[in-house]
């Protein structure tokens, strides 16, 4: 090393340079790391989901859907509301094992093509999406248009005599349950690996038989 004495490994110049660089790095990190955390923090947030009461058990029937307004994000008024289509479970068409969370079937109104709100048409017993023409049948299965999987469901329970609606979960064409994904992400085959589940955003009910 130029300027070094015999046996010297670090010159005073290099040491001074290294100390100054680390001090600068620490100063930069002191304001950059909190800013970075602030920007990406919401990605890792986990919030418990609030069960929302939506009516009495007698308000719902097996053959028609009731439209209920639910709040999916608190605190922003109307922008945080969505619609759930709720009916009683019908053993003739709901073939899965009955448990505490599916006495009532609640479907999300978000179309699984790109997220527009679907409308239930009672005369045709179909859900129609106005954006790109997606059509779902009475069970939420896709019967036409571009959606890539059936409508999402919500867990439901009966608590203190009221029907309550809980976290959302996604299904694929075989009606296998998955943790909630965004619209437009298919879940058949390798879909569940291509679009991995995000960090849990809600404390899901125990014993709900869940959900990769």
């Amino acid at each position: 090393m130029p300027g070094a004495f015999e046996g010297e490994t670090v010159t005073r110049r290099r040491f001074m340079g290294a100390v100054t660089h680390s001090a600068g790095g620490i100063a930069a990190a002191a304001f950059a790391l909190p800013a970075l955390g602030f920007a990406i923090g919401p990605l890792f947030s986990r919030e418990p989901f609030n069960w929302q009461p939506i009516g009495y058990p007698d308000d719902f029937t097996e053959d028609q859907y009731s439209t209920k307004v639910i709040t999916i994000v608190q605190g922003i008024g109307d922008a945080g509301n969505s619609i759930a289509y709720v009916r009683k479970r019908d053993p003739a068409i709901d073939k899965g094992k009955p448990n505490a969370y599916n006495h009532f079937v609640a479907l999300s109104s978000r179309c699984m093509h790109l997220g527009c709100p679907v409308r239930y048409v009672p005369a045709a017993q179909r859900f129609i999406c106005p954006c790109h023409g997606g059509v779902y049948d009475f069970t939420g299965q896709v019967v036409g248009g571009p959606p890539v999987r059936p409508l999402d469901h919500f867990f439901t329970r009966v608590h203190n005599g009221l029907v309550e609606i809980g976290p959302r979960y996604s299904v694929n064409f075989q009606l296998q349950e998955f943790s909630p994904r965004d619209p437009a992400q298919p879940l058949n085959g390798i879909g569940q690996y291509l679009y991995p589940k995000r960090f849990d955003t809600s404390i899901l009910p125990k014993g709900s038989g869940k959900t990769p």
Binding site: D78, G80, A184
Partner: protein
């Protein structure tokens, strides 16, 4: 700095020779002109900016230049329009997801003096800028003006295109009416279809797994501060490279070797000074 010739000044603006006698016979216009010139001289003596300004303004351009070459400046003018109208809109806009955003935009449109004009200039100016930026990109591509030594200029231009599209996407949400809300939901879900990283990109844009209270504020900060800063810096770099490397000739006027130097042999006298 190169020794550039003084620009030709029209006769009517050339300084008149001083009249004989003392200087008290100067006309008011001459006095005002002298004051202005001495003010500019005062600044120039301390900054030496006049050399740089001459370098920028008195550049040579090749023969065959046509109106297509104005598209780049037109795009920058559209961006400046967006910046200025955006500043005035920002003085009244409230990024409040629980109804204040829509109400503030309604207030701008209905109650603020010339609010409807400024908001419309901003909204239509956005479409104008997108159209002009694509036309400019097409002009550069079809004229081969991205070739050596202008590859870096082209790359910076592509980044500017992407940033402009991102400005359109984030700005679209800000009025926060039904069209904005659902268009953003659809746009973020389209982002989510990319394998593996798509869902995380959606979460990053929305600030969480659902469209929530922070999403509007996030889009507002990105639209107002993050991307305009990047665009301004990159426009500066883009313009510096253009001025340094010169304007390229149209492809039908380039030599057999494809050489498109903007200052061919001076003896041939085929350069036009602007």
């Amino acid at each position: 700095m190169p020794n550039l010739p003084a620009p030709p000044i029209p006769k009517i603006l050339q300084p008149k020779p001083k009249r004989p006698g003392n200087g008290s016979t100067a006309t008011p216009i001459e006095v005002a002109a002298d004051t202005g010139i001495s003010a500019v001289d005062w600044i120039d003596e301390r900054t030496s900016l006049s050399g740089g300004v001459r370098w920028m303004l008195f550049r040579k351009v090749p023969k065959g230049i046509n109106w297509f070459y104005t598209l780049g400046s037109a795009t920058m003018f559209a961006f400046l329009n967006q910046a200025v109208t955006g500043v005035f809109l920002a003085m009244y806009y409230r990024p409040d997801a629980s109804g204040g955003a829509y109400e503030s935009v309604r207030y701008i449109t209905d109650d603020v003096f010339l609010g409807q004009l400024v908001r419309s200039m901003h909204k239509w100016g956005a479409s104008v800028m997108i159209i002009l930026i694509f036309l400019h990109m097409g002009r550069v591509f079809f004229f081969g003006a991205y070739k050596y030594p202008r590859e870096l200029t082209w790359v910076i231009g592509v980044v500017l295109l992407i940033l402009t599209l991102a400005m359109g996407f984030t700005g679209y949400l800000l009025p926060f009416d039904q069209q904005s809300y659902w268009a953003t939901i659809v746009g973020v879900n389209i982002n989510g279809t990319g394998p593996f990283l798509g869902p995380y990109l959606s979460d990053f844009l929305r600030g969480g797994p659902e469209f929530g209270a922070t999403t509007l504020s996030r889009f507002y900060a990105i639209h107002m501060m993050l991307i305009p800063g990047l665009i301004a810096a990159l426009i500066g770099a883009h313009l510096y490279l253009i001025m340094k490397l010169g304007i390229s000739a149209p492809p039908w006027l380039q030599g057999n070797s494809g050489n498109d130097e903007e200052v061919p042999d001076p003896e041939l006298n085929s350069t036009v000074e602007v």
